[in-house]
Structure formats: structure tokens, C-alpha cells
Symmetry: C2
Subunit: 523 residues, 2 copies
């Protein structure tokens, strides 16, 4: 892997030479891949469409899992585990759901291999009577379980979640954003009434919004997806949409009100308090490793990734500047003591995660490695620091001074310990504030005709989104809108829950508008 260290920075040039070989401005897509490689997040696996998630990328996912799992449990859900394989017959029961996924399902047809002409092949004698699909999502197989669990209104609600891998055979893949296999959590619930199921759908949407904003420091717009963007089988789909630095939208989490679609298909019936049989109302909701792609494109800069402290595997990394001299032992000891003291602290109601990087490499290489990985605070300690009781502190959210030099501050060791928690809170807040300002500044709600809409998206490379008024057409009328947008490489994102009421005409049909919908390019 090419190492590209901006040595020039410490030589005092005013113009910054950044750590990555490509900037966001030059080529956003290439920059994204470069961040993933240089931050040791993930790599191609050699297996089509599947990636290897490396320790730093997986560590971020573990942090996301922990924080989101706490909220999923705090809202009354329990974790379970359901089979990876789903019999075809389960899918046949729900036509719309099948249509949505049939084109991209991995199908298991055999259960044994044999040698033939020196090559391994599926054994024709070991063909499955009924092929199995590798789950693309688990509504059908979890619905089958719910039908066993639910008999009476007393058994409701059922509030379940699973952390699992799923497979969708995407033809064009992109690391974290769209991979054949990905990791996610999928919540599945069953309720006695429409109101309860809808409350659940919106409650989990709000859990996702708070998670994205408070933990990932990624501002999002929560709202309902238009009909054409619904999950296959859903009555209503809600999403959180985040804006990437290139202005494109990333759907970062969805919550579906499924009505009785799957309770009909899987026979989830209960006896109500009046003794009558009713179909349960179900929901499902999911967040995946895609969120990591969102984190990269929200917070990354031309020096690599910047990880918000709450989801950083390590929040503070200490790099001892060793020179193969007698002083090395004292430096390491000094650092070890500091790590010990930092790890005693609590930030965000959890113990601080500080690391002493003792690997046998040059301090500058290690420093830039952690900058590219986006550790929130990097601390360097040399023999002069030890003598003076100091450390050199680099904050990843503000790497350079106005003159373009690296902003490395010398701070007394005790002051660092005193201020470390506040500093982590500042980094978290600063990353969110930056992204929030960018989002707010990049939604144009003044566009009222299609020419202006075309001009907005045609004018610049990074137009952001348009919030337009529309009549919420359905069926063929909606399809016409969707096709027109497709011609402009645009999509409908969602109808923001907090948008102002409509007060004008529909930008697409000219009729009276009923609500405002977000339009944008998207991942």
C-alpha cells in the first residue's frame, strides 16, 4: 500500500499538503476508496461483492452495535437469532416481497461437494429437494416464528431484534455502501392494533435519528418515503437520510409499517379480547454497515477519516517518540501511566478508550497512521515532554493552524488528564456542528418549477437537495414523476417529518401541493 506522508507540513509551508493521495474535490469516489484503504477499514476479499472488514472498520461497527443495541433494548426489544437459510416456499407466500428480492438472491441448491476430474463440484446426488435462499432480510422466516408464538392478544406485542449478516446479490458493489453480504440489525415486531404498530415504527425511526446524530454525529432528515421507495411488502416506509459531502443523499436507516402483509402470508393470528381471530400488525426496521460508509463521507477529510469519539474504537492514542536510546523506557512508562489515568475517566457515560501504540515503527509514520484512521485525539510524547511533564496534543477535528502547520499543542500532562473528557465532548460536538451546518446550508426550499429544479442540480458539482412542494401523486402519476427525475439522475428521498406544511402548487403536476418532499442525487 502506498504511504503518502505529508512531511512538508512540519517543514512549515503555509499551503497544506494532505495525507491522502487524492482530495474530495479532485475525485470524491476515488477519495472514498482511498480513505477506506489508508484508514485500514476494509478491503476487497477476492469473493465477488464481499469485503473483508478490517480491525479499525470492524471496531467502529462494534461501537455502533453497542450503542444502538443499548437503545434497542432500552425500548423493550430482545435479541434472538433466526436461520440464515429461508426455504423458497416462505417467499412464494408474499408476491410483492418476492418481486423486490428475487433478482438478487443467493440460492443454495446442494449440500455436498465431490471431486470430478480433479475439481470440486456440487454432488448431483446431494441436490436439495427445495432450494434455500440466503436471507436478504428475514420478514418471512421471523413471521413464521411469530405465527407460532402469537395465539392471544396477551402474547402481543412481540418485540424482537437480531444482529446478522444478509446477502443481496448486487451487480455493482461499493464497500460499506452496497455489498453482496452486509451486516445489520433487523428489528421485527407484532402488535394488536394499527396504532401500536405505527407508534413502534415511528419510535424506532426516532431511535435511529438520535443514534445517527448523537453517536455518529451525522445529522439526518427523518421522514416518510414516497410510495415508490417503499420496502417490498410495506404499507409505509420511513427513513433517515444523511447528506454526504458531495451533496448526495445516503439512506442510513429505515423503519417499515408492514400492516398485515406478512401476518397474512405467514399466518400471524391472535384471538382478541372479544374472542375473535385477528391478523397481527407487524413492523420491521434496520440499520447496517452502510452507516460506516455514511460516517466516512460525512466526516472524512483530505487527511483521512475523522471518527466521532463515541464510535471510535480508541478515542485517544499515545505515540511514544522512541529513538533506541536509554530514554525510551522512561517515555514508555510515562505514556503507560497516562493511558492508565485516561482509562479511569468516563466520557459519554462510558470509560475512556485510550491506547498506547507500542508498535516498532517511526513516530511520524504512526502519527499519520492515526490521523488517517481518524482517532479523535493523538498524543505524542518525546523525551523533552517527559522532562517537562508535558505531552503534544493533536485534535483530529482541527488538524492545521491558519498558517497551514500541524496544530500540535504542548500541554501539561495533568492538564491533559483534567481536560480529556471535555476535549472528547468538544470533538464530538464540533464534528456534528460542521455536518449540521453543511446540511442546513445545502437544502434549497425555494424551488417551485422544474426548470429551476434542473438548473439547481445542473449548475454546480455539489448542489445538495431540493425541498419541493408536491401533490403526492400515486400509481401511474407517481411513476411519471419518478421517470422524469430518473432522467435527471434524481430521486425522491423522503417527506421530512418536520417540514412546513404545503402552501403552494405541486412542482410536478401543477395541482395543489399537499406536502414537501426532498429531491436529490443518492447512493
Amino acid at each position: 500500500m502506498a504511504r503518502h506522508l505529508p512531511q512538508s507540513i512540519s517543514q512549515g509551508q503555509p499551503s497544506v499538503k494532505h495525507a491522502l493521495s487524492v482530495t474530495r474535490e479532485q475525485d470524491f469516489a476515488a477519495w472514498y476508496q482511498t480513505v477506506i484503504a489508508e484508514a485500514d477499514m476494509a478491503e476487497e476479499s477476492g469473493v465477488r461483492g464481499c469485503m473483508v472488514i478490517r480491525p479499525w472498520g470492524y471496531g467502529i461497527w462494534e461501537r455502533m452495535q453497542k450503542l444502538l443495541d443499548e437503545q434497542i433494548k432500552a425500548t423493550g426489544h430482545e435479541n434472538c437469532y433466526f436461520p440464515l437459510f429461508i426455504p423458497l416456499s416462505y417467499f412464494e407466500k408474499e408476491a410483492e416481497h418476492v418481486d423486490g428480492f428475487a433478482k438478487e438472491m443467493a440460492v443454495v441448491t446442494h449440500h455436498r461437494l465431490i471431486q470430478q476430474d480433479g475439481k470440486l463440484v456440487p454432488d448431483p446426488e446431494a441436490k436439495l429437494e427445495e432450494p434455500l435462499v440466503v436471507r436478504p432480510t428475514s420478514e418471512t422466516v421471523i413471521g413464521a416464528a411469530f405465527s407460532r408464538w402469537v395465539q392471544s392478544w396477551r402474547d402481543l406485542p412481540v418485540l424482537i431484534n437480531q444482529w446478522a449478516n444478509v446477502v443481496r446479490w448486487e451487480m455493482r458493489t461499493r464497500m460499506f455502501l452496497r455489498t453482496a453480504e452486509f451486516l445489520w440489525q433487523e428489528g421485527h415486531t407484532a402488535h394488536a392494533t394499527v396504532d401500536e404498530a405505527m407508534d413502534e415504527t415511528l419510535k424506532m425511526l426516532e431511535v435511529y435519528r438520535v443514534f445517527a446524530e448523537d453517536c455518529v454525529a451525522m445529522p439526518v432528515v427523518a421522514g416518510e418515503k414516497p410510495e415508490n421507495e417503499r420496502f417490498p411488502g410495506a404499507v409505509a416506509t420511513y427513513s433517515i437520510e444523511a447528506m454526504m459531502q458531495d451533496g448526495k443523499a445516503l439512506q442510513a436507516g429505515t423503519s417499515h409499517f408492514l400492516g398485515t402483509t406478512f401476518s397474512q402470508a405467514q399466518n400471524i393470528k391472535f384471538q382478541n379480547a372479544e374472542g375473535q381471530q385477528e391478523l397481527a400488525q407487524t413492523t420491521s426496521w434496520g440499520v447496517s454497515t452502510r452507516m460506516i460508509g455514511g460516517l466516512i463521507m460525512t466526516h472524512g477529510d483530505d487527511d483521512g477519516l475523522r471518527v466521532p469519539p463515541r464510535v471510535a474504537p480508541y478515542q485517544i492514542v499515545l505515540v511514544p517518540m522512541l529513538r533506541d536510546t536509554d530514554e525510551d523506557a522512561a517515555i514508555v512508562e510515562y505514556c503507560a501511566d497516562l493511558v492508565h489515568r485516561l482509562n479511569q475517566l468516563d466520557a459519554f457515560r462510558e470509560p475512556v478508550r485510550a491506547l498506547l501504540d507500542k508498535r516498532p515503527a517511526k513516530a511520524a509514520t504512526k502519527r499519520w497512521g492515526w490521523v488517517k484512521k481518524g482517532a479523535p485525539i493523538v498524543i505524542e510524547v518525546g523525551s523533552r515532554d517527559v522532562a517537562g511533564g508535558n505531552v503534544s496534543v493533536i485534535r483530529r477535528d482541527r488538524l492545521y493552524r491558519a498558517d497551514g502547520k500541524l496544530d500540535s499543542q504542548i500541554v501539561a500532562k495533568d492538564d491533559l488528564v483534567e481536560n480529556a473528557v471535555a476535549m472528547l465532548e468538544e470533538v464530538q460536538a464540533a464534528l456534528f456542528a460542521d455536518a449540521k451546518a453543511r446540511l442546513n446550508g445545502a437544502i434549497d426550499d425555494s424551488i417551485t418549477d422544474l426548470d429551476a429544479l434542473k438548473a439547481y442540480f445542473g449548475a454546480s458539482k455539489k448542489p445538495g437537495w431540493a425541498l419541493v412542494q408536491w401533490a403526492k401523486p400515486t400509481g401511474a402519476d407517481l411513476e411519471k414523476v419518478v421517470q422524469w427525475l430518473k432522467g435527471e439522475k434524481l430521486t425522491l428521498r423522503n417527506v421530512p417529518s418536520d417540514a412546513a406544511p404545503a402552501d403552494g402548487g405541486c412542482i410536478f403536476t401543477g395541482g395543489a401541493a399537499v406536502e414537501r418532499v426532498l429531491v436529490g442525487r443518492s447512493y
Copy 2:
């Protein structure tokens, strides 16, 4: 599901009527299935060989994951994630490994479904050029990654772990013990020298031993497996073996020294300090959801499961005895306050996990539900308890008094809080001590000839194991021994690391013995 409540116990009969419909003595296999059903651990999924792990079962797995993961990280390993699918060509490179797994692999051959005569079928147009195997274990695909990561001796060791699902198409399945899909962690490491790789192999075996004994309270015997029981491709395989209550052995974790088998197949080479190319020495080691089967058969009794506090999702469960009267609110408040106080405590260096069970069901039903689930401490609170400032405490490890009555102790609320941590520690220690005494008492090391061995295993229903001296035959000589044992439904378990040196003749060959090996029935 049939509810079988031993109401008779509280009516004071001296002979205990247990909560399960079948006892261990009557039918151990049926008892095992009954515990799993009555403790809401898992159920058949309708998908061949795959189970649904329900919240209580999955909650135990989450506890195991947390505690084992801490140790895996404390010993320097990092978590990653590798693809679910493995191309056939990866397997072709290592013949012995293929032979071990080819007979039981799920094979993906298509990536799309189409409708045909109203049925879903794999699309013949969407056949994969190279079929993919659903990973039965990941040596090959992780080895391919290691070959990219390792260039120089400076890149070693590589210390990686992943938590994942794997699939082995077993024809005869049994929940938790042998399922087509199961959950596990698999550690994979690469080293510069044989010594380092062997140290790693034995270090992780010790991590497993300590985890099994200290966390799951399941005593085990750690040792090397004989040649015929090695992992396909391993140079040496070590295991921890636990004794179930029916005397059978359960292999509960394995650690493999793989030598250069996989570095040859996957080309994991490094330049050593002298500038020469060398093959890396690799290891792998795994613990799976099988451990939950071991927990059940180690600690379960005729009233259901008994979960050691360290791996119990909830350690203390409060059951308010409500009667639809005005007093109910005060009882619930009293319990909520108690749960709050208990959750402030630390046991085993973690916060105590106490739960208030507010479900709308009868207190007796709830009490027996938690007894069957094996919550370590169940506390009942009625209006008289509230008035007196007391609670009624049931310890799951000693459910009955000598006269057969339920041993429910009235304790002052403050005393409970005072003693809760000590009580949890006592339950943990008592479960281990019981199992340890059973294990120690059921290994016969006095058997020196095959007739005596036959007699030992033929004599009683629960013979335990025999520790016999042997000459450690190999190849065809070993095969002869294995076949003879097979005729007696016996297997070689392992050569205990802490066994006394051999000092007699080989029980199988009559030659001089070189070590002692465990013989037993097994799962």
C-alpha cells in the same frame, strides 16, 4: 406449550414433584429437549437443521460473547469480519481440509430466482461460474487475507478473531449441540516461528479453560486430541472436554496448531530478518453455541435450567405478587426501588443485572417460569413483605429444603441488598463445585485391560470416563484402536495436560505406555 406447575410443593408434600415433565433419570435426551423448550431457549425453525435461538438462549450467548470477547481482546487479538462465501478454488488448494468438510457443505450455485409455473426456481440464466460454499470454517478465506497482509517478519504476528455464523450440513442435528448453522468465534493467527504459534495455540486453550470454568462454571479437562481426532489440516489439535450429567463428554472448545498447512495452500509468506522467504506458522481456535448445550447438560436439573450468574442475562428477577387491589401499586414501587438499588451494585466486576417482571400473569406462573429458565435468584414480593420491609428469596442452586418444600427465605429488604453480591458469588461457586465434584468422581484411572474397560462402560448407565495408559499408536495401529473403541461406542477424548506420566503398559497394544488418554462416550 404444556405448563406443568408443581403446585404440590407449596402444599407441603415431603416428596418433590419437579417442574419438568421428564427427569434426567428417566430419559436424558428427552429431558434436554424439554429444558430447551420450557426455558424458552430455542426451537425448531422449520428450516432443516437450523434452530431459532429465543431471547433467553440468545441472552446467554450474548453474555458468553461479552466475557470471552474481553479475554480474546485482552490477549491481543482484534475482531474482523470475513466473507460468508468461499469460492471452491480456495478449498481445492488444501486436500485434507476439503476431505474433512466436502461432505457437509452448503453450496450456492445461483444468484437469482424466477417464477416458473407459479413456483420460484433458481434462474438457469443466473448460474454462478464458480459455485460458492457457505463457510464451514474460515481458514481458507482468512488465509487468503493473511497472504495479502503479511510480507515481512515485521507484519507478524497477525492476531485476528471473528464472531460469525458457519454452516455444516449435518444429517443428524440436535439443538445447540449439532446444528446445520451455528454461531461461534473463530480465532486465526499467523506467526514467524513454530514456538510462537504453539504458544498461541496453548494460550488460547487456557483462555477457553478459564472461560468455561470461571464464567460457565463448567469444569473441563484440557489436553491434546489424538491424531485421529485432529481438525482437518491441523498438525496438532487441543480441546477442552466437559462431562455432561449422563457421563458423556462434550468437546466444548478446540485450539489448533496448523503449522504451514494453510500458509502453503494460501501462500502466506514473509521475509525473515535474514532476508529469506519463509512460510508463516498459523493457528485457529473456536468456541460455539455448543457451549450452551454444555451449560444445560452441566447445570440443568429436574426443574429446568440453572444458569451460572456470570452468564445469566438476568441474575436476580423480582416477581411482584399482585392481586388487582389498591396495594398493587405499592408492591410494584417497592420492587422497582429494589431493582434500582440492586442494579447499582457490582458483582464479578460488572453491574448486577436485576429485572422486575411486570408481565400480566399469575405470580406462581412467573415464579416457575424463572425457575425453569434458571435465573440464579428469584425474589417474590407480596403486600405482607412490603408491610414488613421484607422479600422472599429463592436460590435456584438450592431450590428445596430437606423436607421437599420450596426453600423460600424471608429476608429484610436491606439485608438482601447487603448480601446480593455475595449470594451471586455463592451460586456461581456452588454450581462449579457441584460439577467439579461430579467430574472428579467420574474419571476412573485404575483400568488396565480391555475387559475391565468394557465392563466399566457396560456396567452402569452413567459410567463417566476412563483415563487409561497407552502407547500413542499412529496410522494403522491407531485406526485399529479407534475401530475397537467404536464397536463399544467409545471415543478417545484427549490426553489431559495435567495427567500423571505413564508408568505402565498400553491398554490397547500391551507395549510400554507413553501417556494417559481419556476414553468415553461423547456428544
